[in-house]
Every structure is written in C-alpha cells, then in structure tokens.
Symmetry: C2
Subunit: 199 residues, 2 copies
DNA sequence: GACGCTCTATGACCAGTGTCATAAGACTGG
DNA sequence: CCAGTCTTATGACACTGGTCATAGAGCGTC
C-alpha cells in the first residue's frame, strides 16, 4: 500500500508513518525499523529526533491522529450554518467506511490499537486517553451546535465514538461494511429520537 | 492478579490462560512462555497439545470467550419468562463494569485485541469474526425475545456490541467507568424509543 | 520386565526487538 | 576555508519471540 506523505520533513514523516503503521499492526507489532523504512528515513534519525524512544514516537503519533479527528470537527464548528447532529455523525461514519475499503479492511483506529496492547504503559495509555478526550470534546461541541442539549451532546458523543470504534473492529474482523452500516443506521435513529420535540 | 482456574486439565488451563493474557497484552504481547507460566504448565506441553503453534492456542481461546459470551445469553433465552431487551443490554454492560474495576482497567476484550493486532492473520481474524458472529446471533435472539422485531433485533445487537466494545476501550484509556455508564444510559434510551408503541 | 504411548521438561536456534555507540556527511556562521 | 552543529548512516549489543529437537518421567499392556 502506498501512502501520500504530506510533508518533506523527515521528522513529521516518521510520525505520520508511525500513525499509519499503528493502524494495521498495533504498538508491539510496529518496529522502529519498520517506521524508519516506511518513512524512508534512516534509523539514526529516529534516535535523533525522538530521544525518548518508541514511546515518544507513538505518543506524537497519537497527538497527530487527535489533530486529524478534531480537525474537521473544528471546520464544521466554524462553518456559517450549523450542521445538524445527525449529519455530523453520519459523516464521521462515512469517513471510516472509505478508510476501511481503501485499506482492504486492514486499517483500524490507532488509538484503539494503542489501548489494547499498551494499557500497562502509562505514557501511551495517557496519550490515548487524551486523544479520545479531545475527540469527544470536539464532537460534543459539534453535536451541541447541531441541536442537542449540552449534557445530552456529551453523552451522545461518547456513544457515537464508542459505537464507531466498536463497529470498526467488527467490520475489520468480518471484512464487511455491514456492521458499520447497521450501527450508523441505528445511531441515526437514536439521534432522531433524541432530537424529537417530544423530549 | 490471581485467577481461578476452572479445570485441572493442563490443556484447558492453557487455553484459559491464553484468553486471560490476551485481555491485557494482546496477541503479540502474549508469549508462549507467558502462557505456559500462567497456566503453571511446562512449555513442552504447549507444543504437545497445540501442534498448530500460537495460532492454534489463540484460536481456541477465542472459541472459549465466544462460549462465555453466548453462555449466559443461552441461559437468558432458556429462562421461563423472557427478559426485556433493555435488561439484557444493561446486564451485559454491568458484567463489563465489574470486569474492568476488578482488573483495575487492565482487562479488555480478547476478541478486540486479536483483531487490532492480527488482522493480517487470516486464521485469527476469522476466529475473531466467528466469535463476534456467535455473540451477535445470540444477542439478536435474546433481544427478539425481549420485544424487538427480528430485523431490528439484529441491528440493535450490532449496535449494542459495538458500543460496548468501544466503551470498554474508552474506559480502559481513561481508567474510568464514565464512558461505560454514559453509553449504557444512552443505549437504554435508544432501546426505549425502539420499543415504544409509537414506531 | 520390556514395550509403547502420553505427557513433561529443557536446551538450542534464528529472526526479531529497542537501544546504544560511533562515525560520516551536510550545512551554517564565522 | 574551517569549526561547529545538525542530520544521516551503520554496526553492535542484550534480550525476547516462536519453534524445533531431544530426552526424560509416568504408566498401562502384552
């Protein structure tokens, strides 16, 4: 699989490569040599830019994916007319449907991968928690602007993220979009109910 | 952490140990030596009982957790009076809340762990898919008996499993039950809406 | 008792890991 | 031009991974 690198800086390239490799192989499955090779950078540069070792590279990769997740939500928030909550969630799912088919169901969420095989590592676990939190905060804001009450938006964001993450895992296991589609549909129905005037 | 082994058979003990270790360390993070040690069995026995190597042990562990997941759902189905759908889902979440606090947020779902760092391994990926499928089928039946229509029960089961799995990951990352609680609450509301006569 | 089978036990091998050490290149400021 | 710093490049180390090979117990059967 070929990836398009967005930067010429070796440092950034390595962080991006780490994020990509994490998706398919997890933390323990991704070696420092793999990262260097994928980023087309020498192994020595890894040591140079990331004296904190593997933990540092992975941590920065988590920050990067946090940026990506919150990035388009920030755009949605900055748009002139508010996007309805149901559309926000729907678009989030669509993005992952594309990602899954494009990677032949190999790519998953790097944050989930980090949690599942590095819970015991406080630095990485904390980084994952922070990434989730940033995502949840951004989505909460978007859902609030999209018509949900504040406390409801927070809980709905948590539900949407959880359901999405779980559905991604199911979809990868079955190599099928069905879980993602079904979950998106029921989630939409839930949102419709929550948004209904008959609160 | 001490686990209670349910069997004296070394073979079964090793499969059980594998399932337990998978929860905290994932596939790549769990070594054959770890399994043997945890099961208090010699390394040679692993080779003897599982000539298929690590893949075989992990696969059998996945079958085991599939059994556990479908086990109590079968009991629910066999009960005289049907358990309402909302209660079924609620109880599923409660079980995981206990598991998380008991393990200090270290233990996750072995199936998720397998998918996240062994997607490329067809045998393991297939085993995970099968475990998910058995679970979904059993839960669908329980939800159907609990008051949902057949097609709705299938999609709701997918949503519930996805949301649960995702919430487990979030909870482990944050070392908090909040995601699990919030997700359970919103899921319950969704089920209430789905069950409402005003379809 | 000797055989055969199941199971236990241990040592070795090779490929892989993250990290360290060291040196060579590249490029800027004087 | 040359000194100094940033970056690249490679080799080595200590360790762990799964697997293979082989031998040793335990035990029932002919």
């Amino acid at each position: 699989m070929t990836y398009v690198m967005t930067s010429n800086s070796p440092r950034i390239r390595m962080v991006e490569s780490t994020a990509m490799l994490l998706r398919e192989h997890g933390v323990t499955g991704t070696g420092m040599r793999d990262i260097a090779e994928h980023a087309q950078a020498p192994r020595g540069s890894l040591q140079h830019y990331f004296p904190g070792g593997k933990d540092q590279v992975v941590s920065e990769a988590l920050v990067l994916v946090g940026d990506q997740a919150t990035g388009w939500l920030a755009k949605v928030l900055a748009a002139d007319d508010p996007m309805p909550a149901r559309s926000v969630v729907a678009k989030m799912f669509e993005g992952w449907q594309r990602a899954l088919t494009a990677s032949d169901y190999l790519a998953g969420c790097p944050i989930v991968a980090t949690v599942t095989d590095a819970v015991a590592n406080d630095q990485l676990r904390g980084g994952a928690a922070q990434a989730f939190d940033r995502w949840a905060v951004a989505l909460t804001a978007a859902l609030f602007r999209g018509g949900l009450s504040k406390p409801r938006a927070a809980r709905s964001a948590l539900l949407a993220i959880s359901a999405l993450e779980g559905a991604i895992v199911l979809a990868r296991a079955q190599r099928s979009l069905t879980p993602l589609n079904d979950v998106a549909r029921e989630l939409d129905e839930y949102l419709a109910g929550v948004l209904a005037p008959t609160g």
